[in-house]
Symmetry: C2
Subunit: 329 residues, 2 copies
Amino acid sequence: MSLNTAVLGSGSWGTALANLFAQNGNPTVLWGRDAKVLESIERSGRNPKYLAGLDLHKTLRVERDLVKAIEAASVIVCSIPTQNIREVFSGLSLGDRILLNTSKGLEVGSHFRVSQIFSQLAPECRYGVLSGPSFAEELIKKQPTAVTIASLDKALAESIQNAVRAPYFRAYTTLDVVGVELAGSMKNVVAIATGIVKGCRLGHNAQSAVITRGLAEIARMGRALGASPATFLGLAGVGDLVLTCTGPLSRNLRAGILLGEGKPLNEVVRELGGVAEGIYTTVSAFELSRKHGIDMPILREVYSILYEGKSPKASIEALMEREPKEEAV
Amino acid sequence: MSLNTAVLGSGSWGTALANLFAQNGNPTVLWGRDAKVLESIERSGRNPKYLAGLDLHKTLRVERDLVKAIEAASVIVCSIPTQNIREVFSGLSLGDRILLNTSKGLEVGSHFRVSQIFSQLAPECRYGVLSGPSFAEELIKKQPTAVTIASLDKALAESIQNAVRAPYFRAYTTLDVVGVELAGSMKNVVAIATGIVKGCRLGHNAQSAVITRGLAEIARMGRALGASPATFLGLAGVGDLVLTCTGPLSRNLRAGILLGEGKPLNEVVRELGGVAEGIYTTVSAFELSRKHGIDMPILREVYSILYEGKSPKASIEALMEREPKEEAV
């Protein structure tokens, strides 16, 4: 059954998902704040800012008015930066619509995962989260892509799974909202750590070790906060982490590389032309780990490098010189 | 405490480990079958065939006679191809020496993991296995490297952990021999699968999905055969898998790429100049999965491509078009 869909956020991933929904016969509108991007999609059927050279499905419509965009929608896909969600959704009446989140990160201040933000803003809406290893460009090119959809409402997850199913797109369902959200948020912190190792030119063994021990930290955090361990072995866990840390340079990986090369945070932000999500999430996660007493040595070192001026070299020595011990998640 | 060590196998990893033991003050001899390699190590302190341009520690000795090599050793490190282990160790009297295995794979015919081969050949020896994301060249260059040592004998694992500890080398211990051996063996099969996706030019999303769903299959096999699930989240699991599938081209990854480009197995073996371990392990693992009724769709498709002439394209379609379902390990 097709679903009336509104995608909020016209960045690369929002555009690619809107395209997927439209392609699959779901009446779909895309809302965004960037007037130029919307105009170009309307005029040329392309998003040249984020997805140059790729044709979007002809049925995809754009909408500049947020209230109008969601009016007819039974599914709202959220694909806007996590730190902006509260502002965009405040005062918007979602009713019992399905909210499918694809944004990753922990809100600064509240330490909230996105589902927690929505349970405050729109307690009646039905919530799901889609996550996994997925570059937007490859999805638009119809290259095989597999993701996880998590919801406490199994029927909701299955209705989305059905609405987006394609020969090149495969979604698995799970009930573990907490695990999928934590994995998606924390992978950006591990990507920064991996970038730091890369920037210090320490080799592939060290990068793989940081990815692995980073995953163990995420799983440990998950256990403390009620997630299912299996999630971290899945597409939203290992899958997304591997893609972000070893694929073409993501923003968070680039941020880490610049830090590893010895640049201070303000210069990194200037070179990136903005903040990478993991830079925010590091703060929230660090505070959260302290509050709950979770041992997260890699997170702590990333925090120290970002916000306390610690040198990457000193951090790596600190990690390598810990007492030998058993391998534990 | 230092350990008298004999390393069997003068390939890149055997040489790098022998170097690590020697560097750390353990009296170490290296045995191998390649007379040229041994002679060059003796003469120039280098292994130009596998580790060109890298100086080995001056205390590392070579030994051409296998019986003499192990005479004074309390630890024997096995780093020879899995399919040759039975032949090399047959008739050798190990007594209660520590056997530290670093070879990966499942023996063709018996389907045995390496510890099972040794429990037949040398039932009195005390067994451990060292595994994890580790390129030999980086270890010799003293770039940070972290691995797992598994043994049912905790004191054994800790004595090795201690003997190899260095500012650039960190070993974690675990009791899960089965999990570490399965993870190390099966990663080569998943590397072939990832190579196939790469050779078909299907993109990074698909590669990450194969790595992740491949890991889920390995964990499922582990559960059926008595491994601990946490092992697959660790250095010998995710860590080694990520390095092999995303790092500089390994033999198994290269084999997969050639298959993905449409070459038949005999041509692949010719281009590689020999068989990659995963090509053997696919057979053993496939037979083992059938015997125990373990659902392993990626393994099955790799088997079909290698041995039944199935086209990679047909395999990928088969994997993507399975019924949508819950994400399960």
